[in-house]
């Protein structure tokens, strides 16, 4: 995938570019907003990572100009601001996701992956039936089966599983789950998400040979079929 990084902090930019290249992406970098906008408009870019505060052209203005010209590529906004409302303004300006500095590379990678594969897995927001291996989830009837056997889930476990299935094969971080399933944007001090996940794991994996819900060390979770 071709990724454009628009970031004025050289150190952070270089590490980011290196990390993205290591997992096989093609990376272009720009050090200011104008250059970033120029590159985003002239090169075939699949995804852009844009810092919010940039010299020459502000990150939000860049995203707005990009959207104004009809470019629909996914944009991840990085911000070093105070948060709370900044996230909303960032998303309103046309960003698809928003990450506050300092971030873990694993968090950023997971989000880039989610943005890049949005709509690709077939399990999109509009699909009525989500499927992974022998696990099936019907959004209309709210029925979950594995290997044809019905699995009883609470409303929240259902939502959690639905989110995981829409991102099947990807790494999903704890903050992504808290944002995507609960719509909260804070770091809980306790391991609240882990406990929810372990309950879901009990429900869907316990009585079956092949586990589907995996823990990705230092990053989060992944719902996938192991080879």
């Amino acid at each position: 995938m071709h990724i454009l990084i628009v970031e004025d902090d050289e150190v952070a930019r270089d590490y980011l570019a290196k990390a993205l290249r290591e997992v096989g992406h093609t990376v272009d970098v720009a050090g200011d907003g104008l250059k970033g906008l120029h590159m985003a408009s002239s090169i075939a870019i699949d995804l852009a990572i844009v810092d919010r505060m940039l010299p020459k052209l502000d990150g939000l203005a860049l995203v707005q100009s990009l959207r104004a010209t009809g470019r629909k590529l996914p944009v991840l906004i990085l911000s070093a601001l105070g948060e709370v409302d900044d996230r909303i303004t960032g998303l309103r300006a046309g960003g698809d996701d928003y990450l506050t500095k300092p971030y873990h590379m694993s968090e950023l990678m997971a989000r880039v992956d989610a943005l890049a594969r949005r709509g690709e897995s077939g399990n999109t927001e509009t699909t009525a039936k989500l499927k992974l291996a022998d696990l099936e989830l019907d959004r209309m009837t709210r029925r979950v089966t594995r290997n044809g056997k019905k699995i009883e889930l609470t409303a929240r476990e259902f939502q959690l599983l639905e989110f995981m299935m829409r991102h099947s094969g990807q790494v999903v971080t704890r903050t992504m789950l808290l944002e995507g399933v609960w719509d909260y944007h804070f770091d809980p001090q306790t391991n609240v998400i882990d406990v929810h996940i372990s309950r879901l794991r009990q429900a869907i994996d316990k009585d079956f040979d092949k586990p589907l819900l995996h823990t990705v060390r230092g990053a989060g979770y992944s719902l996938r079929e192991d080879e």
Partner: protein
């Protein structure tokens, strides 16, 4: 507190509200004073006028009596009768009345049909009524007269028609009453009108104040093109608001740059550490050191996030929207239920439906998360936590109760300050900013934060 709640008044309440405005009250007092003044003035005038008019009538009668007393001594009875008849007919002397009666009180001469049977016959002054032709009808006229004895048992009455004077008096009295009533009506009407104006202006001001409290600092009070007190006051308040907006935006800018200047190097540090980790053998001492650095960056980030959120809440520059408090509390309880069950802690909740507040959902969620984190941290295994959302007449109250060690009464104020961790709490992890953030968020929402003894344990309640 009802700061963000618009008061919705019924028509009755609005009318009563009008009666409660200061112009209306002033108008009532002034109308009363003015009406009393008018009544007093007219009373004095009436008294003076009647004294003068009555006095002159009485003098006239006295003189006539005196004259007739003299005449009766020199004239024969028939001449005296003729004199009386003559005077009775005299058209020039308007309103004069005479009556001469014999000892049996039968009229002998004069223009009064019958001897008035009032009081004792020897009373000097009497007032009585006589039917007087008035166009085609007759009218009862008030007469004032003196009676005296004539030689031979005859009696004489000399008087004057005072009906006209009475009419004037009545007219004056009616005028007086009308004037008082009119003054009161005008006063009340004026009071109502001014009261409505003031209410409208006050309503506009409180609507703007509500919006400003909601965080929209660009709002200004409406100013009319007049130099009255309210407009002058509104202008002064507006320049004060300019200043506040300027200061708050300045504060926000400082916060943003502080955030930026701290987050950027932290981000570099994190990126560098993570970059280094990937090149090191897992478990090696070097890698452990770098991992430690990365963990510390995480701690710094949490503390920075908490501090920034506190500062944002305290400057009040957070956008506000209606927040479904019932949904929020229920979902927070649901989020924390499994983690407390892991510790064998029973998390009970009772959430009243339909509670709504104006504010920031994310900050409220963070505050609740801090309270629940704390409760779970300090409650012993197998303990129990209660979360309540009560709603009394639109003022919701959120209560989180645990049966942990609680906070001694003398230290409750203290823990709400920044970075205070009681000695007993040092062994559990945390930044010590949890309750400070709860306090800032509570204040931002115009709510009250109360720490109490749950005997045993801590009861924290947020009263909106």
């Amino acid at each position: 507190m009802a700061a963000w709640r618009r008061r919705v008044l019924s028509a009755d309440q609005r009318f009563l509200g009008l009666l409660d405005t200061s112009p209306f009250r002033i108008a009532i007092v002034y109308s009363m004073v003015f009406a009393c003044g008018a009544a007093l003035l007219l009373g004095v005038v009436d008294f003076a006028v009647s004294r003068i008019v009555d006095g002159s009538t009485d003098n006239l009668i006295e003189a006539e009596v005196q004259g007739l007393r003299e005449q009766v001594l020199v004239l024969s009875r028939s001449d005296f009768i003729e004199l009386i008849e003559q005077r009775s007919q005299d058209q020039d002397v308007r309103g004069a009345v005479y009556l001469m009666v014999d000892p049996q009180l039968r009229p002998v001469a004069g223009n009064v049909p019958a001897w008035p049977k009032i009081g004792s016959n020897d009373d000097k002054w009497i007032q009585f009524k006589v039917s007087v032709p008035f166009g085609d009808e007759t009218r009862e006229h008030e007469m004032r007269a003196q009676r005296f004895r004539l030689p031979g048992g005859y009696r004489m009455l000399v008087g004057h028609d005072v009906q006209e004077r009475q009419d004037v008096k009545n007219l004056m009295m009616r005028g007086l009453i009308a004037a008082v009533v009119l003054t009161l009506l005008l006063g009340l009407g004026g009071g109502f009108w001014m009261g409505r104006r003031i209410l409208a202006q006050a309503g506009a001001i409180s609507a703007v104040a509500t919006q400003i409290m909601r965080g929209d600092l660009s709002q200004r009070l409406p100013v009319r093109n007049a130099d009255d007190e309210i407009n002058t006051l509104a202008r002064e308040i507006n320049s004060m608001l300019d200043k506040i907006e300027q200061l708050t935006l300045g504060m926000r800018t400082v916060l943003d740059s502080a955030a930026h200047d701290l987050r950027t190097p932290l981000n570099r540090l994190q990126a560098t550490a993570e970059g280094a980790i990937s090149g090191l053998v897992p478990g090696s001492p070097e890698r452990k050191v770098i991992e430690r650095v990365s963990t510390e960056v995480d701690h710094m980030r949490s503390t920075l996030d908490a501090l920034l959120r506190i500062a944002l809440a305290e400057t009040g520059t957070v956008a506000r929207e209606p927040v479904n408090l019932s949904e929020l509390v229920a979902s927070m309880v649901e989020l924390y239920a499994p983690v407390s069950e892991e510790r064998g802690i029973r998390l009970e909740s009772s959430v009243a439906p339909g509670a709504e507040v104006q504010g920031s959902r994310q900050l409220l969620a963070q505050a609740l998360a801090n309270l629940l984190d704390n409760a779970i941290k300090f409650t012993p295994d197998g303990g129990h936590i209660r979360v309540l959302l009560r709603a009394f007449g639109g003022t919701p109250e959120v209560v989180v109760e645990d049966d942990g060690p609680g906070i001694p009464a003398d230290k409750r104020e203290l823990v709400l300050g920044r970075r205070v961790r009681l000695d007993e709490a040092r062994k559990v992890p945390g930044s010590g900013l949890g309750l400070s953030l709860v306090a800032a968020v509570t204040k931002l929402h115009g709510a009250r934060l109360i720490l109490d003894d749950a005997a045993p344990g801590l009861r924290v309640s947020l009263k909106f």
